[in-house]
């Protein structure tokens, strides 16, 4: 099936540093998403993105978070500065449309903030 690639699979950084998580979505998809999963908890919606803009964001999407997809390249999640509570697995997803379209997920990036 369609593949979403996330780079890197694991990232370790010191608290206060900046981190960028990269996602290569399915080539013909137009809608992009980030989800966050803290260890032992469910995956939770962070943000969705279309046509260069954030459409919706949850309360988990703090001011330190930003997303972009410059010139159709990687869809990125940037956290600046990072905090201890940002440690989690971040899943990227993409879809062809909205409504009840299927989301295709990447394998996730495990972020460890020390």
């Amino acid at each position: 099936g369609p593949k979403v690639l996330q780079i890197p699979s694991h990232q370790i950084i010191d608290m206060g540093q900046m981190v960028t998580l990269n996602c290569d979505p399915v080539s013909n998809h137009l809608y992009f998403y980030w989800y966050k999963q803290i260890l032992g908890q469910q995956m939770e919606f962070l943000v969705n993105f279309y046509n260069g803009k954030v459409m919706e964001k949850s309360k988990l999407f703090k001011d330190q978070f930003s997303v972009e997809r410059p010139d159709g390249s990687y869809f990125t999640l940037k956290i600046q500065p990072t905090a201890l509570e940002d440690s989690a697995v971040y899943f990227c997803a993409s879809s062809t449309g909205l409504g009840v379209n299927t989301l295709y997920f990447g394998a996730g990036t495990r972020l460890s903030v020390l």
Binding site: G99, V100, Y104, A107
Partner: protein, 114 residues
């Protein structure tokens, strides 16, 4: 807000025997769709089943589920578990809104033993 409950954290089943994973939900939305995602070790969550029709059985890869709005459930079943079914299974609800946000359950790990 929406919520999805998966009551079993771990289900252990002997190969060839039936397996059932429970999923119940709460939502105020009328137009909803449900997904079962399966995540094999070190891989991305991938969609296994999808349904938005009340009381209609949906099948894929030997698994089946029926959305029952009367009992707010979308349980996943398989009549004969295979060793390759060992994985993490997530139930997820889409409220059909423009944002296509999914609400996930915490996941059920299935271990199939010989």
């Amino acid at each position: 807000g929406d919520s999805v409950t998966q009551t079993e954290g771990l289900v252990t089943v002997t190969e060839g025997l039936p397996v059932k994973l429970n999923c119940t939900y709460q939502t105020t939305y009328l137009t909803i769709a449900f997904f079962w995602y399966v995540q094999y070790l070190n891989e991305a969550p991938q969609v296994l089943l999808k349904s938005s029709t009340d009381n209609k059985r949906t099948e894929h890869q030997g698994f089946h589920a029926t959305l029952h709005k009367s009992s707010s459930s979308f349980h996943l079943q398989k009549s004969s578990a295979q060793l390759s079914d060992s994985a993490l299974y997530y139930c997820a609800l889409s409220d059909g809104s423009a944002g296509n946000k999914l609400t996930f359950g915490i996941g059920t790990r299935v271990l199939v033993r010989p």
